[in-house]
Amino acid sequence: MRELRIHGRGGQGSVTAAELIAFAAFEGGVYAQAFPAFGVERRGAPVQAFVRFSDEKIRLRSQIYEPDYIIVQDPTLIGDVDVFKGMKAGGLAIVNTEKPDFDSRVPEGVKIYTIDATTIALEELGVPITNTTLMGAFAAATGEIKLESLEHALRNRFSGSMADKNVKAAERAYNLVGGAA
């Protein structure tokens, strides 16, 4: 079983990201589970969402403390929250930042992928909502979900031009990170 923890802020779509990543994984033939850190957080407050991937039925219901993967939706979170807490050695972190020279308290053995998802989201969607962009990066970095499954998940959630734009944002991130991976 592999585990993903998504760090974001209220309103950035972290819960939707967890749901869509899990849906894409399920579409790809994996048993998946997605759930939010249940809270009363309002817009702007740090939030978490979780995804598990397994080849068997998932029974475990605890939150995720030792993730294989993390996604950090907002670089300002790194000062607020210990986003790397408990990460497994060999884990992967996808961090939205415009500073490719990103440097922080990264644990030993954790591989970092940085991507300027905010700029991509602004260019493709016109709003700084980075969740779908980061899904593309996650797909490329981890291989847990296929790009076509992700596209299917996005088209299932969004319709019309919104779907096209989100797919495009995810693809751009996928190609960028895929090139780096």
Binding site: A18, A22, E27, F35, F38, L60, R61
Partner: protein, 384 residues
């Protein structure tokens, strides 16, 4: 066929396929997604039902009672404070023998205010005359609604039921669920056939008051119907298994109990985490098993005694507390095992949404095997 969806949506989908004619509900976290989904289905004409946007939970259940008495299949959902506000109607609906099915998205009760999960709400209504079923996962949560209608509407039963599933932990979790088609649900659950109904063509007075000459006998009859509900559940659960391949003929369900020395006893989603923890403990040679109480009312005392007769230690995980006397499930399991000589230790755990990890389950087993129990597990003593 498995589909990937939120627990609340799975429940709403299956409720839709159970064809209630009247839905009355009041929004409360974490039940909201269920009733929002149903309201949308009504708005889309996907379901042939009246959705009454009542002004309180008290009225939600009162409206369900009226609609049920008028001969319609009804549905509601609530949790926590909302269920507490329904307290009076709960007793009334059971005494009036209305087969209402209501989802409980289990949540703690204030004070202090908490929106998070435990099972204090439904367990506090254990004496109200409602059947109580607890789901371990979202598949079971969906399936138990069909079984609940079937059992409740049986003319030998005629009692209401709570289908309980853990708030947030299940309601807000997305996972794969297999939902029977409308045709399959219809074949399993025929149209509602009321035992009696308010009808100008055949008038009757329903819900009269009883003097001391009659009251006890009415209560006796409700209790007898409760007792009969055990067999009705087993039958409905078996038929469900035959049709859909998921067997629910057990009021309780054992996991790796056959050769277990220590048995955990629990209800709801914590059983999933416990099963994973048990597998790990088994890898280290620890003979641990689990008894999942699926049906808490009627209480399967004999089934529990039979299932646990060969273990040497029992550890009950109680997501509730009967303040002043420990956890409600623990108290009842002790009663069920009275005279067996098997020690039963109770652990008040995970109140108000405190997360439970595999290592917590293992720690409880350690405590029980050391003979330390009847405690709050995981108290943060540093804040006391």
């Amino acid at each position: 066929m498995l589909e990937f969806m939120e627990g609340s949506h799975a429940v709403a989908e299956i409720v839709k396929r159970c064809r209630p004619q009247v839905i009355a509900a009041y929004p409360i976290t974490p039940q909201t997604h269920i009733v929002e989904d149903l309201a949308q289905m009504v708005a889309n004409c996907e379901i042939d039902a009246e959705y009454i946007t009542v002004e309180s939970e008290f009225s939600a259940l009162s409206a369900c009672l009226g609609a049920s008495a008028a001969g319609s299949r009804v549905y509601s959902a609530t949790t926590s404070q909302g269920l507490a506000l329904m307290f009076e109607v709960c007793f009334n609906a059971a005494g009036m023998r209305q087969p209402i099915v209501m989802t409980i998205a289990n949540r703690s009760l204030g004070a202090p205010l908490s929106i998070w999960n435990d099972q204090q709400d439904s367990i506090s209504l254990r004496d109200s005359g409602w059947l109580q079923f607890y789901a371990e996962d979202n598949q079971e949560a969906a399936d138990l609604h069909m079984i609940a209608y079937k059992v409740c509407e049986d003319h030998d039963i005629l009692l209401p039921a709570f289908v309980c599933f853990d708030g947030f932990i299940l309601t807000h979790t997305y996972e794969p669920v297999a939902l029977p088609s409308q045709e399959e649900v219809d074949a399993y659950l025929p149209a509602f056939s009321p035992y009696q109904r308010l009808d100008a063509a055949d008038p009757l007075s329903l819900g009269m008051y009883a003097t001391p000459e009659y009251y006890m006998e009415f209560r006796y009859e409700v209790d007898r119907a409760m007792q009969r509900a055990k067999q009705a559940f087993i039958k409905a659960g078996r038929e469900f298994g035959e049709r859909f391949g998921r067997d629910y003929s057990g009021l309780v369900e054992g996991y790796r109990l056959e050769d277990a020395d220590t048995a955990l006893v629990a209800m709801g989603s914590i059983c999933g985490t416990a099963k994973d923890a048990i597998d790990e403990m088994r890898e280290h040679g620890r003979k641990v098993g689990l008894l999942n109480i699926r049906v808490f009312r009627p209480f399967p005392a004999q089934e529990i005694a039979d299932a646990l007769k060969d273990v040497s230690t029992v550890a009950v995980l109680d997501k509730n507390i009967s303040l002043g006397n420990g956890g409600a499930v623990g108290i009842e399991v002790k009663t069920a095992l009275y005279g067996s000589g098997i020690p039963v230790y109770d652990y008040i755990i995970a109140l108000g949404g405190r997360d439970v990890r595999k290592r917590d389950i293992a720690a409880v087993v350690d405590l029980a095997e050391k003979g330390e129990g009847d405690i709050f597990y995981g108290l943060r003593t540093e804040v006391l």
